[in-house]
Symmetry: C2
Subunit: 495 residues, 2 copies
């Protein structure tokens, strides 16, 4: 048995090295590679993906899994869970012809460069054919599993086990029912709070402040880096090498601050996985919904609170001089102004979920063939007008704004909304152990990080998202806390 | 035959993908990876190096080479040259046990992180054991070839075919004979010209200027990038993805300017290789000496000339405001001050070769067991005092200053001196076709690039260094022009 387990660990190590290499190529592509390099790097990604595919679908690998399962009672929880997840993964990919698997990996690698240029040039047409291919591949891969109807539910389930269109429809309907009237209420008292927190700061100084904030919230820069990209993201090479990006807007320094805190939340999660899981396939977030619960927790519940800014103004060595001219109240309202706007990553908490709904409905519509890719700019703008009352003047500010589709992340967006909901459930549990306001005011963010690590981060994928939510909060997904939080917060701000 | 050639191209493609991947990992390690990532990335480099080793020493590969050679008359010049170089390469590595090959790759990958930290902390001792291993591996790898005596000559020959200790001893003796008296002469008239070109410029502005200069000299930023690292270097993923680094000293902007131009020279060479060689193993510089001839040509002959600065002051959209307060003469003398100093990469042209001599003598001494690694700080300082009359106060400014040894580049340094000599031979030939002064004054650097491309760059490794020198200049290595140039230049400055 020991021999079999050693064999298993060896193969997993090989798999992890390939995956880490893929991660590094991805990182390079999005942060440094010149345009001339896109082609070769995409090819490399294709090659490596094929290697990873071949490894996990090989006869040797599948037999090894079978052998181990025969003696399941002798295995510890970690390896049992690894086998369970590997079986799920293999089940999904082995039905895909290897050439298509490779083609798709190359396609999504290449697509990012094309998306970036399309976004720069406000040229949806140059991106549309590749986007269509990406959607088609996604539909086809699900169909290979024998699923012909309600393909999108199956995709959703890949990101968040147990999720499907019906559940999400209900969930969004609930949010809509509560948030849209609240938004109307707030809009009646609309004020330009944000003006005061829009000032010019050099990119260099924004960079320094971003790094300080990362350390302040507990991200370890010895085991991670902060870089820049067109669209902020987090990428894990391994738990000792967690990479974040942000982007700097010269005349609105808070944009990078909140991107940085958001990605920092993802990064703290990844860095916090237990050392014992490091060389296993469990050293990763439990699900994308749980992952986003951490990033949104840091970004909104912590980052957009008054107490956080009180703490950082007291403690920061480096802060924008313009900040000291403002009262805490002005900062707080400035960073929490509700204003239906075009860009999701800069949306306030109240309109944020509506941005997600738009993407959710579009993905659903394309996969069910209700919409065609070429119609997306129009559909996008119509939905923006319907839910948010604003219409982008360019596709760069509209349908081209997100990196996700070019990466092949169809079905990912709902994770952000689930993350919001989870984060408030988690806050409610945390409150029983920690005086959050005081902790933030004293700048003791390490305490919060430790609590999250203890309850969530350290487990990685050892627990399912549902197990985590039930063990931490005592219940499954429940939007109640989130809605209550929004109501209270915004009634106070817009009283 | 066609089938055999296709098979060959396929295997070369695989080799090139592995090598490009290695290059990207190296790049990542030196520009972005956090300390926590060094371990895993070094392991990946080890794995990939082993793959590359296994490929080129495999029975299949060797038989393919043999097969092709049987029908040599049917092969074109490109593939013939590829086979010739591959045979040389295989000859050298197949005698090394694969495990040692992998260990050495991992070692040099890991060593760079250790060197960087040692340099930061001025802690030679923490680097010494690893440096000793690197020297030992180098000695051993040569011994595996059956060579027990004069190991260093063999190593030198790997970097510059035909080179050996005897030739280099003569060469350096000649340089020493001419340069040391010249240096004494100059030192009698010593003046502080440099003061005027030392002023403070923000890193951000230095970055902008560096990029402008790169475009000005003809480096294509669509097919390359400029980043930062502890020690400037150039790394090629392929000819459409050529990567340079520089470093910024806040109070001495010319430091980054000349690093950038130097690496730009390497980069222009790599970008200029003929498209037809792109997927061959010839898409690379002819030798390290020829490579350095291009970087030193751009850095010194172009970059430190009066005419270049006249041109750039006229044409630059972005320049340091401090520059416009200086006369052209003040700038010229400022960037050409002769002053025996500690750091090679910042040395003037006259003392530069002496820095190389020190490293050359040390490498020779260690490989012949005349010196021990632990004695290096002392030996270094003694030689600095002997040749340059200055002694570093810390090892960071002394024996720890260069990245080369940690990368395993033993025997590389002489390439810089050869490059200097070559560059003046090339200038002499270029003068017959181009009015260099006028071209620089008018900022028409593309003309110079095109000349170099036509005569040198496009051939990549298709020609040997000797063939290139003879075809371009009509003769082999000849230090005469270099020495004449230095004499004339510095007599004019220090008249």
């Amino acid at each position: 048995m020991e021999e079999k387990i050693n064999k298993f660990r060896e193969m997993i190590k090989e798999k992890k090295i390939i995956d880490s290499m893929l991660a590094l190529l991805q990182w390079d592509l999005e942060t440094q590679a010149p345009k001339g390099g896109y082609k070769l790097i995409s090819e490399m990604i294709g090659e490596l993906s094929l290697k990873s595919y071949n490894l996990t679908t090989s006869k040797e690998f599948l037999e090894m899994l079978k052998e181990l399962k025969k003696n399941e009672e002798k295995l510890d929880d970690i390896i049992k869970r690894e086998i369970e997840l590997l079986e799920e993964e293999v089940e999904k990919i082995k039905v895909i012809p290897s050439e298509e698997y490779k083609m798709y990996s190359e396609l999504t690698a290449k697509a990012q460069g094309i998306w970036e240029i399309a976004r720069e040039n406000n040229d949806f047409e140059s991106f549309a054919p590749i986007l269509e291919q990406i959607f088609n591949f996604n539909r086809k891969f699900i169909e290979y599993r024998g699923i012909k109807e309600d393909v999108y539910s199956e995709i959703l389930n890949d990101y968040e086990k147990g999720m499907n269109v019906k559940k999400l429809d209900n969930f969004f309907a609930e949010l809509k029912k509560e948030i849209v009237p609240l938004l109307k209420e707030v809009n009646k008292n609309k004020r330009d709070f944000q003006k005061k927190v829009k000032f010019e700061v050099s990119e260099y100084n924004q960079k320094l402040f971003s790094k300080e904030i990362l350390e302040y919230i507990g991200f370890d820069l010895e085991r991670g880096v902060l870089s820049e990209s067109a669209h902020p993201f987090t990428l894990t090479v391994n738990k000792d090498d967690v990479r974040l990006t942000t982007r700097y807007l010269k005349d609105f320094p808070f944009s990078s601050v909140f991107s940085t805190i958001h990605e920092g939340g993802h990064g703290i999660y990844e860095q916090g996985v237990d050392e014992i899981l490091k060389d296993t396939i469990l050293s990763d977030g439990a699900s994308m919904g749980i992952h986003e619960s951490q990033s949104r927790f840091y970004e909104n519940i912590i980052g957009r609170s008054k107490e956080f800014w009180f703490g950082i103004l007291e403690k920061s060595k480096f802060k924008y001089s313009e900040l000291s001219k403002l009262t805490l109240e002005e900062i707080y309202k400035g960073i929490n102004e509700v204003s239906p706007s075009l860009i999701r990553v800069e949306a306030d908490e109240l309109t944020y979920s509506l941005h997600i709904m738009i993407r959710y409905e579009i993905e659903k519509g394309i996969l069910s063939r209700e919409y065609l890719v070429k119609d997306l700019p129009r559909v996008w703008n119509e939905k923006m007008y319907e839910y948010l009352g604003v219409v982008p003047s360019t596709d760069s500010e509209g349908v081209l704004q997100d990196v996700h589709w070019s990466c092949g992340l169809i079905g990912y967006f709902p994770s952000y909304a689930l993350g919001n909901v989870y984060s408030l459930q988690i806050l409610n549990a945390m409150k029983k152990d920690i005086n959050i306001e005081g902790t933030l005011e004293r700048g003791e963010l390490k305490r919060i990080k430790e609590w999250l690590r203890e309850k969530i981060h350290r487990y990685g994928k050892l627990k399912t998202p549902k197990e985590i939510m039930v063990s931490v909060t005592g219940e499954e997904l429940n939007p109640e806390y989130y809605i209550e939080y929004l109501k209270e917060k915004y009634k106070n701000i817009y009283n």
